[in-house]
């Protein structure tokens, strides 16, 4: 009985919370929605109805996909595909590298572990922009300019992802790994069979870090991969913006297309976070 009352109360405060949450969500989405609407109208209409704000600001008088057609027929499609490919490989390799390192730093006792972790943390404090120039000349000497490998490599060793996963691994009761050691399971077995399955939510979190870093990456592709064949989406969009007489309609269409991929990734990530909640329940 008390349970039912408590649950009803919880649901009522939940609905009340909605009054706080929906405006924030609207605030987050409004600029993007406006960009999407702008991508559907002819270029010269974008700035016409900005002030005073009216229905026309958000409802185009004519909806057309001309901007999208133009963008998809341009070299932008290749740039988008390059971005998807480069980001996917970076996330997969980055997760493998970071989780292995995080596991060793959290679980395997060896001398100098704390110092090594310190070096890892400091390594992500060095702004990538600051080292991009010396790094780019090294990459050019290694003949990696204008290659996908050149784009992918810097995104793999990510101190933030290692930091996050180590924090999570430390939270797993050591009795688990001690018992497994007693049973003769190797460190790699413990990593693969115990820690990885338990850390799905954190892996998704670390994957999100790697994804965002690579998807957002701008200065590095500009330095190392300027050739059209390996151009990535952010650089292509910036090219739109820097052309004389910017076509805002096409730029917003390109921006919208670039946002669709992360939208799908985020939907997937949210589901993982939600199901990790469910599995926490099971564990108890």
């Amino acid at each position: 009985m008390a349970d039912i009352v408590a649950r009803r109360n919880e649901r009522r405060t939940g609905r009340r919370t909605l009054w706080l949450v929906v405006p924030v969500a609207a605030l987050a989405v409004a600029p993007l929605l406006w960009a999407v609407v702008s991508s559907l109208r002819p270029g010269e209409e974008i700035f016409r109805y900005l002030s005073p704000v009216s229905v026309r600001t958000v409802v185009p008088s004519t909806v057309s996909l001309d901007n999208y057609r133009a963008v998809l027929e341009s070299s932008f499609t290749l740039a988008l595909l390059n971005s998807v490919l480069v980001t996917t490989v970076s996330v997969a390799l980055g997760l493998a590298v970071s989780s292995l390192a995080a596991f060793a730093l959290a679980m395997i006792p060896f001398p100098g572990r704390a110092a090594l972790f310190g070096v890892m943390v400091v390594s992500f404090l060095v702004p990538f922009e600051a080292i991009a120039i010396p790094l780019a000349s090294t990459f050019r000497e290694a003949d990696l300019q204008n290659t996908l490998v050149g784009l992918i490599l810097p995104a793999i060793g990510n101190g933030l992802a290692i930091f996050l996963l180590r924090q999570f691994f430390l939270g797993i009761p050591t009795s688990l790994s001690e018992a497994a050691r007693m049973d003769g399971l190797s460190w790699f077995g413990i990593y693969l069979r115990i820690y990885l399955p338990l850390s799905r939510a954190s892996m998704v979190g670390a994957g999100l870090i790697l994804f965002v870093f690579q998807w957002q990456s701008f200065l590095w592709p500009l330095l190392i991969a300027p050739a059209p064949a390996v151009r990535v989406a952010p650089v292509a969009i910036a090219d739109f913006a820097q052309e004389s007489g910017v076509d805002y309609g096409q730029m917003f269409a390109a921006a919208t297309l670039t946002a669709v991929v992360p939208l799908l990734v985020l939907l997937f990530a949210q589901r993982q976070f939600a199901s990790s909640l469910a599995s926490t329940g099971e564990r108890e």
Partner: protein, 296 residues
């Protein structure tokens, strides 16, 4: 005499076990270490080297003495510190507040989380361009204010409001991102703790202080450190929208470094400024590690 005493042999096998552990750890760490050495440390050393040498390649601190006598650099240092003092507490407070709200039983909770997280996924070049239009004096934001009877704000064109505009843009991008890590942290807290405190009649605020905050210590420390670092390094919005102006009011240190390196081709002072920036970041992060309980 021929029989070896048992103790050293046990010691030797313990040594061997220790060596084996070290080898295993080495294998786990090898890929990450290779990456860190070649992709981070080596170029960092190159940056430090070019900061502390003069044109002839001799050791010299002239880059630094020149830098600290330069009003533009001192100004950018001041702007960066002001920016950090405003944006970090603001972003973390909002992210924490939203994380608490979005771990309650509300309808379509995943949808709201995703919508709030969405801006981080947009390439910063795009965000900057969209907000550049929103911030225009004749743009939609002022149009909206006008409809509400509020006088127009000069946003990016006045030195009094430009930095605030950058804070708004960066918070729009980042808050949902930091919120996500805190949401995951709150999910790791056993429900039974809340249920027990419900029975004790503890209110929402008490639950927050005594259960939620201690429960998310680790993710909170992570967010504190990572957000601070990220905000010291803000670059793209400034580069695209203000180039540090008006009157240097948004000249964040990364913009200063970029300008020295690319516009003025002054590698020495841009490398020196980078060394100063990284030192500040390390000091601040070390302080955060010490101040927060439960470091490990």
């Amino acid at each position: 005499m021929t029989q070896a005493p048992p103790r050293p042999r046990a010691g030797r096998s313990r040594n061997r076990a220790r060596l084996r552990t070290l080898g295993t750890a080495g294998l786990f760490l090898l890929p990450a270490l290779t990456g860190l050495v070649f992709l981070r440390l080596v170029p960092s050393v190159e940056a430090v080297t070019s900061a502390v040498t003069n044109r002839l390649g001799e050791f010299s601190l002239t880059n630094f003495t020149y830098l600290f006598g330069d009003p533009a650099f001192l100004g950018s240092l001041k702007v960066t510190l002001l920016f950090s003092l405003v944006i970090n507490p603001f972003q973390i407070a909002v992210a924490l507040f939203l994380a608490v709200l979005l771990t309650r039983h509300i309808p379509l909770v995943g949808l709201w989380r995703t919508l709030i997280l969405l801006p981080i996924a947009i390439p910063q070049t795009v965000s900057a361009i969209v907000w550049g239009v929103l911030f225009r004096p004749d743009g939609p934001l002022n149009g909206l204010l006008g409809t509400l009877g509020i006088p127009a704000v000069p946003w990016l064109v006045s030195p009094d409001t430009a930095l605030m505009s950058i804070v708004i843009l960066c918070s729009w991008v980042g808050v949902g991102y930091w919120m996500t890590f805190l949401v995951a942290g709150i999910h790791e807290i056993p429900r039974s703790l809340y249920e027990a405190s419900d029975l004790d009649g503890a209110g929402g605020w008490k639950q927050f202080v005594h259960i939620t905050l201690p429960g998310i210590r680790r993710p909170l420390l992570f967010v504190l450190v990572a957000d601070t670092v990220a905000n010291f390094l803000v670059f793209a919005p400034v580069r695209i929208l203000t180039q540090g102006g008006p009157e240097g009011s948004t000249n964040l240190i990364m913009n200063f470094i970029f300008e020295r390196a690319y516009t003025l081709a002054d590698t020495g002072s841009s490398a020196a400024a980078t060394v100063v920036l990284v030192s500040i970041v390390i000091v601040v992060v070390a302080a955060q590690f010490r101040l927060l309980p439960g470091k490990d």
